[in-house]
Symmetry: C3
Subunit: 140 residues, 3 copies
């Protein structure tokens, strides 16, 4: 069994932003030389996500508006219990929960074994600072 | 390390439908001969899900009604930004996000290592067309 | 390839409760002797979750209040279709769906390969009874 580990550095321009990281993940997969196995991609932070969906700009806006409805930002110290700590980003913890922390992808014949529209995204909900995404591949 | 890959073909009768695929996954596991390892099951599409819950018809209806509340269908071109592409299925992308794309299951002594009620489901939110589910098993 | 399997027994005092299980998972990892690989942690029940977020008491309260809004408890037999079975815990199935069933964590140099704030939690939504969490590690 071989394993391969790599970290991506990400710093978004916007506080909330969705970035397509498929190409970066593919590059790491090719470096690894692994042909058959499983690939994990996860956010190393608790206010951002890694998820799989469609590369379409309208849909990215829909995701952000929808998350704002389900888990609204409240920029006051009594907006959420969590804000009593001095941080006012509880909404980002909730938004990340809906979008998910990680994806696990099958590696078949040296490629991400994807359906026609699958793409990997990093979803940032508390951005403009240094964050990391972990990629771990195991297989042969 | 052994690995085994298989694709299930699925075409639902309804636009939104929840199918129990536990038996299909077990069949693939037995074909693989793998006794200890991890099994990934994922939808290869971005408007459908694979998830684990309970085999109970009322609960399936509850899931569909609840998803409709959290991520409502809007059958107009201005209902969601995504609809400006001509597709009017943004709700299906959101519903799938709540239910999840994939599950990872432990394989122990040649079986799905499940609690008493765990069953694997395919959740379709934009159906009546050909879709695929991927099963990838790695282990020994 | 090595694999290691362990089950944690959990019985919460409250019906809905969030427990930090990071230390228990680390103990199992060290027992396993596995240095590079993947670790799966999942609830073996369909009304509880395993997820990764921040160890902060206010945030745990925020999660429980937020879930109650998105998937409210209805303690009557006609509150959800599922309640016609005699069980009145449909909300717990929905809450667990939002929080997720499982996490997959990279193992690097014998440790959970975590970002600065990542911690593993068990989220119980139908508690005060015996439940199990599965930990499966594969690697070398």
């Amino acid at each position: 069994m071989k394993s391969y580990t790599k970290y991506l550095n990400i710093k978004t321009k916007e506080e909330k932003e969705i970035l397509n990281i498929t190409y970066d993940v593919e590059k790491v997969l090719h470096e690894s030389g692994i042909k058959e196995g499983l690939l994990l991609v996860n956010s190393m932070h608790i206010t951002s996500s890694v998820f799989i969906n469609d590369e379409e700009n309208g849909l990215k806006k829909d995701f952000l508006e929808w998350l704002e409805k389900l888990a609204p930002e409240k920029s006051t110290y009594d907006g959420y219990y969590h804000h009593r700590t001095g941080e006012i980003n509880a909404d980002a913890h909730l938004k990340r929960t809906i979008m998910g922390r990680e994806v696990v992808v099958a590696i078949t014949k040296g490629s991400l074994d994807f359906g026609p529209w699958e793409q990997i995204f990093y979803g940032e909900f508390d951005g403009r600072r240094d964050k990391k995404v972990l990629i771990k591949i195991i297989g042969e």
